[in-house]
Symmetry: C2
Subunit: 354 residues, 2 copies
């Protein structure tokens, strides 16, 4: 650590106040404004090597074991939605962040911020859902905290879950390990979560109800690591900001390009239709039970087979590759052969999606 | 784990809905309603041995090392107060929870829930304060998360910090280790934090400004463990609910009584005066930089000396003892020799104190 407290308090705000005098919803959207806040403010202040990795979690050495440590707060609205609720989502989200470090979960913490007036039975539904989700993964909630805020100062329930997990020997996943020639896979159809939430909020009805894909990925990731080990270079769950933002972050970290093939992106018909109606690009819509894997070309077919053999990976697909061209950027080859840039999301596409 | 998801969802809400149809502020007050929520709802649902300890954190074995894991969400209002702010408090709170497990901090996570419209410069003040507090302790914020909620659905900033730490060999602190004959110490004057916050909220002015005692206790606890090792039986920071609630919890867990001597309780004159004006009993008012230690009688003087030698423990005092009488309860011998029960706090004395 190079900073000292006196030096720090003498620094002026690193976000230009004239442009951004206050926090906007888009600062939480997972796109460029979130990235600006993290890089210019948090990384500058909290300056340390683990944080600079900007991975889904930190990795700490404990007596020769690599411990993954990851935190996430959940503020989704509405609390209950098709395919899940804030309770199951809070467990899946943190279990998945640990899985994206290559870790098996050791234990979770749960910290609730409740709003005065929350129906007690709603809390009980959420708590039961958390436990059911934890049981599926085989992880326990081993410590917790509860706070209550006055009516109108919260929104029902906010949940923070933080997890610790162990990274097995021989597993090394990091955006920095992406290499030109690597293959990019996704473990299933994209954009389900965001569209499910938006449908509820907007009161939209589709022929088939669109459900969130919220699911725990630790078993699926374990299967992938089993067949491909160190050949698995990067893992990332494309939540806020979707596949596009996740791949942009990886491309920037790795200093390489990502090239996607539009026709290979798995998207459910109902979701594609809803995206067209709502004016969303599915590449930017949040997922909560999908994982991107960037793996050595030699193992791509084996990884695909391992994903497809898992109940949460049946629609897994190879969607692109890592290239030396256009470093730090993501391109999409369209169905008709054109190429377009897939930028990082800039504003807030869907607020409070997780 | 004995529960399964199907069984769980068939259970009815374990809190009587007729008595408590909704969450009240007092459910977050650290008293009997908080305890009811934890014991009847969370412990029943999340059923596991680590959680049942209801310690300030969980202890997990990692490759032969004992890892402490503790979480806390901070919702204090106002964000800035005499002696600190939500940022420093969030670091001190979790560092102290780790210290109460006997652990030295290894790393912290920080998860922010920001309200749309929060002035960017307020966020920057909070972030700088977090980092200054972390630097004092020598711990890094190694992973984080940021969410934004719409205006009117939050209150400026809520912060979750979760920490991991290592418990040195030869340290074993737990409420279950309290023994009859043990001596109860507190590391300094009580009730400063709660009264400082209340003074700001109520616009009260005292001759001397009352400051929060918010401070990190890891060094002080290390000094105590250095002189007394395994003879330190219980450590607890008396935050929400104050010294009274902390000691009641310990008495209940240990199945023993606690006897306090009123004249030995260290209380600053200004704080005592403010408590009288505001109608508070200082035993129930929150502290954020104080620690209760329950130690073997043989080492009590050495522990007291170690506390008093530390800048954060100058006003440390022996305040009572553990007794076999009145198991599960706390009694106070008054200045004039009478005895009164010191119950657990039942309602909400000071909402959003941490």
């Amino acid at each position: 650590m190079t900073t000292n407290p006196d030096l720090l308090t003498s620094l002026s705000c690193p976000i230009p106040i004239s442009d951004y005098p206050t926090i906007l919803l888009a600062h939480g959207g997972g796109g460029t404004l979130t990235q600006m806040l993290i890089e210019r403010m948090f990384l500058q202040a909290f300056d340390n090597p683990a944080l600079e990795m900007m991975h889904d979690g930190a990795v700490v050495d404990v007596n020769g074991e690599r411990l993954a440590f990851s935190t996430d707060s959940f503020v989704i609205s509405p609390l209950f939605f098709p395919g899940g609720d804030i309770g199951s989502l809070a467990i899946h989200g943190t279990v998945n962040d640990l899985a994206m470090c290559g870790a098996r979960p050791l234990g979770l913490s749960s910290s609730l911020i409740l709003e005065e007036g929350l129906p007690m039975e709603d809390l009980w539904r959420v708590v039961q859902s958390m436990q059911a989700a934890a049981l599926e993964v085989g992880v326990s909630i081993i410590t917790g905290d509860t706070k209550v805020v006055d009516r109108g100062k919260g929104d029902g329930v906010f949940i923070n879950t933080t997890g610790i997990g162990l990274i097995p020997a021989g597993v090394h996943v990091s955006p920095l390990r992406a290499q030109a020639g690597d293959v990019v896979l996704v473990s299933g159809a994209i954009a389900d979560h965001g569209i499910a939430i938006m449908s509820v909020r907007e009161g939209l009805e589709f022929e088939t109800a669109i459900k969130s894909d919220s699911a725990p990925l630790s078993d699926l990731v374990a299967d992938v690591l089993e067949v491909a080990g160190e050949q698995v270079h990067v893992l990332r769950d494309p939540t806020r900001g979707g596949v596009a933002s996740a791949l942009n972050e990886i491309a920037q970290k790795a200093g390489l390009g990502v090239q996607l093939a539009e026709q290979s992106l798995p998207i459910q018909d109902e979701v594609r239709g809803a995206c067209e109606i709502l004016g969303f690009d599915p590449l930017y819509v949040a997922n909560e039970g999908k994982c991107i894997a960037i793996v050595a070309r030699d193992v791509a077919d084996a990884v695909l087979a391992a994903m497809q053999a898992h109940p949460y990976g049946q629609n897994a697909a190879i969607i692109g590759e890592i290239v030396v061209d256009h470093p730090g950027r993501v391109f999409l080859r369209s169905r008709i052969g054109g190429m377009r840039v897939v930028d990082m999301i800039s504003g807030e596409q869907l607020p409070r999606i997780c």
